[in-house]
Symmetry: D2
Subunit: 403 residues, 4 copies
Amino acid sequence: MNKEYMILEEKLAAKGIDAGWVKDSIKNLSVETPSWGYGDAGTRFKVFKQIGMPRNLYEKLDDAAIVNKFTGICPSVAVHIPWDKVDDYEDAGKYARDKGIRIGAVNPNLFQADEYMLGSVCNADPAVRKMATDHMLECVDIARKFKSKEISLWFADGTNYPGQGSFRNRKNWMIESLLKLDKFMDDDMRMFIEYKAFEPAFYHTDINDWGMSLLLANRVGKKGTVLVDLGHHAQEVNIEQIVANLIDEGKMGGFHFNNKKYADDDLIVGSIKPYELFLIFNEIIDATLDEKTSACAKAISYMIDQCHSIEPKVPAMIRSVLNVQTAHAKALLVDRKKLEEARMANDVLGAEDCVREAFECDVRPLLAQVREEMGIDTNPMKAYMASGHEEDKKKRGYGQGWS
Amino acid sequence: MNKEYMILEEKLAAKGIDAGWVKDSIKNLSVETPSWGYGDAGTRFKVFKQIGMPRNLYEKLDDAAIVNKFTGICPSVAVHIPWDKVDDYEDAGKYARDKGIRIGAVNPNLFQADEYMLGSVCNADPAVRKMATDHMLECVDIARKFKSKEISLWFADGTNYPGQGSFRNRKNWMIESLLKLDKFMDDDMRMFIEYKAFEPAFYHTDINDWGMSLLLANRVGKKGTVLVDLGHHAQEVNIEQIVANLIDEGKMGGFHFNNKKYADDDLIVGSIKPYELFLIFNEIIDATLDEKTSACAKAISYMIDQCHSIEPKVPAMIRSVLNVQTAHAKALLVDRKKLEEARMANDVLGAEDCVREAFECDVRPLLAQVREEMGIDTNPMKAYMASGHEEDKKKRGYGQGWS
Amino acid sequence: MNKEYMILEEKLAAKGIDAGWVKDSIKNLSVETPSWGYGDAGTRFKVFKQIGMPRNLYEKLDDAAIVNKFTGICPSVAVHIPWDKVDDYEDAGKYARDKGIRIGAVNPNLFQADEYMLGSVCNADPAVRKMATDHMLECVDIARKFKSKEISLWFADGTNYPGQGSFRNRKNWMIESLLKLDKFMDDDMRMFIEYKAFEPAFYHTDINDWGMSLLLANRVGKKGTVLVDLGHHAQEVNIEQIVANLIDEGKMGGFHFNNKKYADDDLIVGSIKPYELFLIFNEIIDATLDEKTSACAKAISYMIDQCHSIEPKVPAMIRSVLNVQTAHAKALLVDRKKLEEARMANDVLGAEDCVREAFECDVRPLLAQVREEMGIDTNPMKAYMASGHEEDKKKRGYGQGWS
Amino acid sequence: MNKEYMILEEKLAAKGIDAGWVKDSIKNLSVETPSWGYGDAGTRFKVFKQIGMPRNLYEKLDDAAIVNKFTGICPSVAVHIPWDKVDDYEDAGKYARDKGIRIGAVNPNLFQADEYMLGSVCNADPAVRKMATDHMLECVDIARKFKSKEISLWFADGTNYPGQGSFRNRKNWMIESLLKLDKFMDDDMRMFIEYKAFEPAFYHTDINDWGMSLLLANRVGKKGTVLVDLGHHAQEVNIEQIVANLIDEGKMGGFHFNNKKYADDDLIVGSIKPYELFLIFNEIIDATLDEKTSACAKAISYMIDQCHSIEPKVPAMIRSVLNVQTAHAKALLVDRKKLEEARMANDVLGAEDCVREAFECDVRPLLAQVREEMGIDTNPMKAYMASGHEEDKKKRGYGQGWS
């Protein structure tokens, strides 16, 4: 047990926080990595090709299994159809399980077929709407083969010019499709409905914010939940408040983690606004401790969704996972009893102090301790870099990107 | 009949638009002016005192009646309690009616009492929550005396620092209060629930966007509707989409008109983003023509809510009303048949053209014609400036501002 | 002469504005179109391929010549190297001139070679910096062959993460390269230095705003000027003020016209914020009438730079040119004498009225008159759509995009 | 010496960082507090009055001296004229020195006199421009009496409506005034020129960003420098880049520290975006180690400028100072040798790691050690709260705010 961890344990005891609970919570956090995060990605100006990219789903699973090996908390992988099309989905699901991981959320692609230029389920053309809806149903079938229970929906639907489309018609077409999907899904499946302020549509986006996602999730009913992508908000938005509210409504389904300074920059999560990430986890931990909201908070799916343009992909993924783990661990250290007292006493600076104070803690010794207990290397990045995988990958040559 | 109007009438006929319907629609638009818009206002740095400000509600009603006289479309006045407290509300209501106007929305003030420093209905202190709720009920009583049917709610509630308050507790306290208010209101009354991205709270605002307002309005039920203030959004927000969506949900209650370039700047409506104002009216006109949404669209309350720091107040109000009228009139000129065809054919530029083309029209000749038919001066601003009221007002000396 | 134009002429006379000067000014406006605006473009999610795209520079010049034919004001075409590489630049220049147009600004591409993944002239690797600088010199040679006098520089250089690069080193490497370029350029050439708030770099961009462009243009000296792309600012920026200031400094070089609601959306100019475009021209017209600033204002290059993802390309270009022409024409109608008087009298609403009033004018009859006098069709879009070129183009099959 | 500090010292040694240099740097940091930060402040909606506010400059100096006593690093106080007008400036200066502090920057008030409603040095009325310029000269005289060497200029000048003012005239009037001020100032005085994106002006602000401040500072010459207020930028702005650039230009003069989530929120510095504050100090430390930029970087004035609406004032100030100290201390821990190597090798993740890694350190043990060596309490906030000053202050009753 490292010295620094021992000091921390003493401090936790003084706050009345159980170190065992903290360590268990850290061990129980699962972060899903995306298959597309292991391949080439870029901006509209250029996708820079890197050597060693996976050439198909199997090689993406190889990379994901390695990230899970070194971090210990990434047992599932999100897939994107058709990017991850294979001949035999059951075989791929088994391949994953043999590597100690599994397929997580299945993401239909509703923005790259030529037919979708002016929208998918919100297209004025009913043939395109049918094509898009059918593709979603196909993905449910694929999910069944993968033994996955989650369908993750991002619609790029929107318009570029005033007048181009009817907001109200488009919304009602969206609802129609979602209800068909809902009916087709199994009872124990979950639907994540993602929102985005803008891009690729630049005048309006049909599902533009959490309010619209929640409205649709409520229309869908039990299976419908909201997916929060950290990069999909206007600049001036308090994301942790949205998260708390969605949990309170029982409709917070999952996250797409990444980070932004400007638009949907898709940078490594926690690299630009680490305090925001911590404050989001602070709300979640708080809700897990409240009987009314605990079930929803505990069922949240944590998924990474980034676009690594200039980064080496596997190290970027490990860095992302570590940043999530760091923010989560810090949030566990908040003295919630003291916080509640300060809040009820309207003690502004006292309450603020409880939260900021936890963020100021250095949790690296704590995480090292947890990793030791989990039987993995205490420094995942260093261990990975020494593993030889970066060299091994190069044998693949060039691989697959967003297509 | 002016030459230019006659040319316009020909053009409308060519588009298949009935000029009579256009003129009737213009005549039927009502814009409510706010009592506080006639007095001193300012920024946190300074309220510059102007001579001639009204000293009480009666003098504000005098100014409002004059704005109605010259514009012909401002028959009601929103009031703010306690700024507009008088000894006899029935008498003040009668005074207004004698001047050809009436009291419109009643606005409780939930942000200036010392007790509200850390929130009103979301305050951690139950005594403050009760005080705030009681004030809302008091305002319902006042509305009854005024014969007003509308309670307009803006809550400044929010926090300035991470950790300061519990998002979830505060939301549930808000709901509790709104339900009490709802129960106390008469069945034919309407409740407007306003949202605001930020200010005066700078970390989180309890009712932060349309999604939260709609959630609350749904919780309230039949009387609950959403109020859209044009200055209360993050920069990157499509307001006309929100309006269309709220109408589709049957929950669009009213507007607070003003304009912004940055934050909640409260400038003269239409002075910074005239196209946006037009596009909002474009959605409303569209919805009035659709059986499903017509009732909600036609019941919308159009209210001005501005903060005239450096402007002469009555001229600023007339300018605001004229800008609203201009945007509304232009929206009536959209060739909706052609627009619908272009949309259904996925003709992007064709659809855009229908909307922009109407905006490019100069509606001043049309408005002049309408005013002539209404029996008012064709140039309201010029007529007002020549009326001598600006001089007359000065006899009042200094008057009342935001307090 | 159409009736509506005659009414306008009377109104201008009443304002003391010479209709001949207005018409001449409209005729003298030149708008440069970009070769890449005629081909496929898109977002990072997808470039939708359209049939009929030009397959090389010659076919782009064909399309540009047609846009010039129908609008009458697009005599030059910006090119991008290497997208527009041809075997014989002199021949291509002659081809353009034979079609009544010419090559305008030459744009080096400093962001798509693999070497530029982490920057071009700001790359930590001196070999890459040299490669980038050499490419700029090559473009000067190409410009000479085209008989073009303008080098237009956009650097995508920037970083994605805190710490990734040294701001100060990178800036000084930038200056080094610009000085080499300046030395190589002919004395009668101009260098446009473009800035951009973000994208494709998402943490910092080396030339991030007008202040940095101006700093560099001053370092370069006489040939250095600033290029303002309307989509390259943070949301809360007053672009017309920047333009006025750059003219005052004698350093306003040119525009990249397009429009945005969110980020660098690259939509049709004037389609989202028409009032902003008008206000920019308002500053320019104002400066042309002031002896101190006239020379700089008159030398401004107006270039379109858009990314037409979902639009038919030639119609989108014509629409853009018409929107520019409309905004410019309206700005000519401002009663500047009355405006100056109102400003000097601190008459806020009076001054505002002079500007807004001109924007409210419908200039379509004026533009029709000007076109008649220029001998082109009064409705360029309609004439183009009837010309058969959209059909003819299809024979090309699929063509070239951003690569 | 605390255990945790000893562990840190070992780690520093391993990085090759001299713990003595770190501690000395921390001790040498000076943070100036503003006299107006000790009194009532608020938003445009309300200034909540708190008991115990200072009633005049002397009492503000009392509070400032106490903040200096407990933090050890706040030896100077910025003043605002006329808010801090006293009969005898020399006496007040002596009073401060007797308490171990001194008067720092003198701030003229150019926005609250009635004459300034439409601008001060940019007002169209030459009499107002003269009045404003004279007030600045008066402040130089006052500075002399205080033995202060710094004049800090914030101009609220701007307009609310398109057309209201002439950008170019106003800019040139600004330059005229600054040159008069420059001439009047002593050779060893410094002028800070502050910029602000918006507020209280909402259409344009004459000094709107760093580019304009730098342009003016260069026009002024040697004495002119730029002042960076952290809350005065558009959302999408990289402040640390601006700081690095201004230092490179030799024109970075000082900071107004505070924090924002939305507009100019004036919250406690470091409370919303702690990573940004750290990254700013990272640039400064970097520049102090570079011979070319060291002099400018070392001469930077660190001033707090906040608007404590709901906070107890002295604790809010202590919290602000501690947050500045924390960010600065973390920036000292960056392994700059390793960072430079990673940057030169274009190792994106390696370079990022060097910076983030320092931020993840918990510097509280280090600061405790430094405070012990400085002879002050290791926990300034706790010590202050136990000191009885909060109770003592109440004897003052109500005091002074922004007026």
